[in-house]
C-alpha cells in the first residue's frame, strides 16, 4: 500500500519535471491570441529559428483565455513569457501596473522602425517611452449588399441619418437591414458603438487630449447616438440582435441574413472573401457612416511587447524585429487573411495588392482611408479602460435590450465611470 502510494507520487512529480525545465538559453516563449497574423506567425516559427538559432515557442490561445492568463502571469511575475501580444487598449493598464518593459532603445536600434506607420507606433508611446511595436491596425468598415440596395433603388448611406431611412426601406423578414456587435464588453459593443457616438459628437471625457478626465458620457450627443444605435438594431436588426457578437454578425452577413454590417476589418475581410461567403461578390465596402461631428472609424492596434519579468529581453527584441519585418509581414499577408499590417512597405508588394484586390477591389484603399480618419484614442487610452469599457458596455447593452431607458443607461455609465476612477 505504502509502496504503491510512493510510486504514484513519484510518477506524478516526474511529470512536472520536463515542464519545469523548459527555459533553455536560446528559447523564448511568445503568447498571443488568435487572429490571422498570429496564426501566420506561429507557422513561421521555424523560419525564425533557422535565421537566428533561437527557438520560439509561439502560443496562440483564445482571446477570453488570453486576458486571464496574461493578467495572472504578470501579477505573479512568473517570467514565463518573453514576448506578449499587446493590444493598445491594454497597454496603459499594463504600463501602470509595471508589467511591461520599456523598449525605446531596442526599437530605436531596429532597422525596420522607419517603415512602421507612425500613428500605430506612437500609440505605444507613454511617458516618452516606447512600450510595444505594432503589427496591425484594425479599423471599422461597413459592408453592404449591392443587390439589395439596387433593388430598393437607394444609394449607400453616407450618414447615420441616411442609414436610418435606407434601413426602413430595405428591412424585411427575410433580410434584416443591419447587424452590429451588441454583447457587453470593451472589445465587443464598445468597439463598435463609439463609431456612432463619435459621429454625433459624443465623448467619454470632458477633454481627453487636454487632460480633463471628468466623465462626460451622459451628454445629449451620446444620447442621440445611442437612440440611433438602438433604433437600428431594435427595429431594423435581425431577431436576437441584442445579443450579437462578431461571430453572429459575421455568420448573419455570410448567410445573407443582413444587408449592412459594421465590423472590424478582420471580420469584413471574411464577409467579402469569396472563399468564405457565398454573398461576397454581391457585397460592397464603405466607410462607416458620418454624423454631425464627422466620421470616426474604429481603430484597434495590436503589437508586441516584452513583459517586465522576461528573462531574455535581447532575444525578445530580436524576435519582435523579425516579426514586424517587411519580409515576415509579407509572408503572412500572403498566407493568411491579414491585410491590416502596419509595416508600410508590405502594401507595395504587388502580390499582396493582387491578393486583396481579388478578395475585394476596394478593400485595401477603404482600409487605408478608414485608418487615416481614425483617431488614436477612439477608445480612451487609460489604465482603467478595460474596467470602464466593461461598465459602459453593460449600460449600453442594458438600454439596447430595454432593461433601462437610454437616459438611465448613460447616467448609469457616467456614475460607473466615476466609481471606477474614484471620483
Amino acid at each position: 500500500m505504502k509502496r504503491l502510494l510512493a510510486t504514484a507520487v513519484a510518477a506524478t512529480l516526474a511529470f512536472g519535471v520536463p515542464a519545469l525545465t523548459t527555459a533553455a538559453d536560446e528559447e523564448i516563449n511568445v503568447v498571443m491570441f488568435g487572429m490571422p497574423y498570429t496564426n501566420g506567425l506561429q507557422k513561421l516559427a521555424g523560419d525564425f529559428e533557422a535565421e537566428t538559432g533561437i527557438k520560439a515557442n509561439i502560443d496562440v490561445i483564445g482571446q477570453d483565455v488570453f486576458e486571464n492568463r496574461i493578467t495572472l502571469s504578470f501579477t505573479g511575475a512568473t517570467g514565463d513569457i518573453d514576448v506578449v501580444h499587446t493590444p493598445v487598449i491594454q497597454v496603459q493598464r499594463w504600463v501602470a501596473a509595471n508589467w511591461l518593459k520599456p523598449i525605446t532603445a531596442e526599437v530605436d536600434a531596429m532597422a525596420v522602425k522607419s517603415d512602421i506607420m507612425a500613428g500605430p507606433l506612437d500609440a505605444y508611446v507613454i511617458n516618452g517611452e516606447q512600450w510595444a511595436v505594432p503589427y496591425m491596425a484594425a479599423t471599422g468598415l461597413m459592408t453592404y449588399r449591392k443587390d439589395i440596395l439596387e433593388e430598393a433603388g437607394v444609394d449607400v448611406p453616407d450618414t447615420w441619418e441616411d442609414m436610418l431611412s435606407v434601413a426602413a426601406k430595405i428591412h424585411n423578414d427575410e433580410t434584416a437591414a443591419i447587424a452590429m456587435r451588441a454583447v457587453p464588453g470593451q472589445g465587443f459593443n464598445m468597439f463598435i458603438f463609439p463609431m456612432v457616438m463619435r459621429a454625433y459628437g459624443g465623448k467619454f471625457f470632458e477633454d481627453y487630449t487636454g487632460g480633463d478626465l471628468t466623465p462626460a458620457i451622459n451628454s445629449p450627443e451620446t444620447l442621440e447616438a445611442l437612440n440611433v444605435y438602438m433604433k437600428l438594431l431594435n427595429e431594423y436588426g435581425p431577431q436576437g440582435a441584442g445579443n450579437f457578437n462578431f461571430a453572429e454578425v459575421n455568420a448573419a452577413a455570410q448567410n445573407g441574413q443582413i444587408a449592412f454590417a459594421l465590423e472590424g476589418t478582420g471580420v469584413v475581410a471574411q464577409i467579402v472573401d469569396p472563399a468564405k461567403s457565398k454573398f461576397a461578390d454581391k457585397t460592397g465596402i464603405a466607410l462607416p457612416p458620418a454624423g454631425p461631428a464627422g466620421r470616426s472609424p474604429a481603430i484597434a492596434v495590436h503589437g508586441l511587447g516584452i513583459p517586465a519579468s522576461a528573462k531574455n529581453p535581447e532575444l525578445s527584441a530580436r524576435f519582435i524585429e523579425w516579426a514586424v519585418s517587411t519580409e515576415t509581414m509579407t509572408k503572412i499577408a500572403l498566407s493568411e487573411s491579414f491585410s491590416n499590417f502596419t509595416t508600410g512597405p508590405v502594401a507595395q508588394n504587388p502580390e499582396v495588392i493582387e491578393k486583396y484586390s481579388k478578395v475585394h477591389p476596394d478593400f485595401l484603399t477603404m482600409q487605408a482611408d478608414a485608418l487615416n480618419l481614425a483617431i488614436g484614442h477612439y477608445r480612451p487610452l487609460l489604465p482603467d479602460w478595460p474596467a470602464l469599457g466593461q461598465a459602459i458596455g453593460e449600460n449600453i447593452n442594458a438600454a439596447l435590450n430595454g432593461l433601462v431607458s437610454p437616459e438611465e443607461a448613460l447616467e448609469g455609465a457616467e456614475q460607473d465611470m466615476k466609481d471606477i476612477l474614484g471620483m
Binding site: L5, D64, E67, N68, T71, T75, R93, A96, A97, V183, P184, G185, F188, P238, Q239, G240, A241, G242, N243, F244, N245, E248, A251, A252, N255, Q257, P383, D384, P386, A387, Q390, E394, N395, N397, A398, A399, L400, N401, G402, L403, V404, I420
Partner: protein
C-alpha cells in the same frame, strides 16, 4: 471515563490507530490543496490589493462595508437564486421523469439510459457554445425549422428572463442525467411488492406513484436537489460563453460578478470579498446538507 482509561491503549486501539492513519493523508491533501488557497482568499478579502494599483498594505473591513451597499451584488444574488432554484427544479423534475419513464414505461432499455447520459458527458464549455448557437435566431436550426411553417421562435438572449431561461435550459440539459441516475438507483431500491400491494388496494398507477413511490423517493430527491443546488452556485461557463453577463448586467450571477470584479476591474480584493461571501453562503447550505445527510443515513 477516568483519565487512566483514556491513556490506556485498548483492544481496539491498534484498529482505530489504523483508521486514523488512513484518514491522515486525505486531511493533509485537503489542508494543502484547499485550505491554503482558502486562507489566501480570506487574507485578500481584507486587503486593498488591486492588480494595477498594487497594495498600500492596508487591511480592514473596507471591502465588506462596500459589499453591503453594492446594488450589483444584490442583483447578482437575485440572478444566482433564479438560476439555481429554477435550474435545479427543472433538473430534478426532468431527471425524475426520465428515470421513472425508463424504469416503468420502457423497462430495461439499456441503450436509452446511455442516450440520456450523453449530455452529462459533454464539457460545460461545449454545452454553452452549442446552446448559444441554438439560441441565436440567425444560427439556430430550430428557428429555421419553425420558419418553414411561418412560426417565429422568439429570441431569448435579449431579455433578462429570456437569457436566464436560456442559461437554465443549457444547465438543465447537461445536468439532468445526474438526477436521473440517482433517482433510477433509488427506484431500483424500491421493492415491486409495494406497487403490487397498492394495486391490490385499488390504487391507480398515478395514485400509486404519488402516494407510494414518491414518498419513498423523497430522501433521494432531497439529496439530489441539495447536491445540484450546491454545484449550481458555481455557475460560470454558461454565463461566460452564452451572455457575457448580459443583457446589461442582468445575468451576472454572484460567481460571475466576482470574476468581473477580479479580472475585468482588477479589483482582486473586492472580488475576494465577494468570494468570501459566497463561501459563507456555501458553508451555511452545506451545513444543513450535512445535517440532512446525517439524518437520512442514521
Amino acid at each position: 471515563m477516568s483519565s487512566n482509561s483514556k491513556q490506556r491503549a485498548g483492544a481496539t486501539y491498534e484498529l482505530e490507530r489504523g483508521y486514523r492513519r488512513m484518514i491522515v493523508p486525505a486531511i493533509i491533501a485537503v489542508a494543502i490543496f484547499a485550505i491554503v488557497p482558502l486562507a489566501g482568499m480570506l487574507a485578500l478579502s481584507f486587503s486593498d490589493y488591486h492588480l494595477i494599483r498594487g497594495s498600500n498594505g492596508e487591511f480592514g473591513l473596507r471591502n465588506f462595508i462596500k459589499l453591503v451597499n453594492d446594488k450589483r451584488l444584490v442583483n447578482s444574488i437575485y440572478v444566482m437564486s433564479v438560476l439555481s432554484l429554477f435550474g435545479v427544479a427543472a433538473q430534478v423534475i426532468i431527471g425524475t421523469a426520465v428515470a421513472v419513464g425508463l424504469h416503468k414505461i420502457v423497462g430495461r432499455w439499456r441503450l436509452g439510459r446511455v442516450l440520456f447520459l450523453v449530455p452529462y458527458a459533454v464539457p460545460h464549455v461545449a454545452v454553452a457554445l452549442i446552446w448559444l448557437s441554438l439560441f441565436t435566431p440567425t444560427l439556430s436550426p430550430i428557428n429555421a425549422f419553425f420558419d418553414l411553417f411561418g412560426i417565429t421562435v422568439p429570441s431569448f438572449l435579449t431579455s433578462q428572463n429570456g437569457a436566464m431561461f436560456a442559461i437554465i435550459v443549457a444547465d438543465t440539459w447537461t445536468n439532468f442525467p445526474f438526477t436521473m441516475l440517482i433517482i433510477l438507483a433509488a427506484l431500483q431500491g424500491i421493492s415491486p411488492d409495494l406497487d403490487e400491494a397498492a394495486a391490490l388496494d385499488g390504487a391507480s398507477r398515478v395514485k400509486t406513484f404519488i402516494f407510494i413511490t414518491l414518498p419513498l423517493l423523497l430522501p433521494a430527491l432531497l439529496m439530489v436537489t441539495l447536491f445540484r443546488f450546491i454545484d449550481s452556485l458555481k455557475h460560470f461557463p454558461m454565463i461566460f460563453v452564452m451572455t457575457k453577463g448580459g443583457p446589461g448586467r442582468s445575468t451576472q450571477a454572484t460567481n460571475f460578478y466576482a470574476y468581473v470584479q477580479t479580472f475585468q476591474n482588477s479589483n482582486v480584493a473586492y472580488g475576494a470579498a465577494i468570494a468570501v461571501l459566497l463561501f459563507l453562503m456555501a458553508a451555511l447550505i452545506s451545513f444543513y446538507v450535512a445535517k440532512l445527510n446525517q439524518r437520512i443515513s442514521s
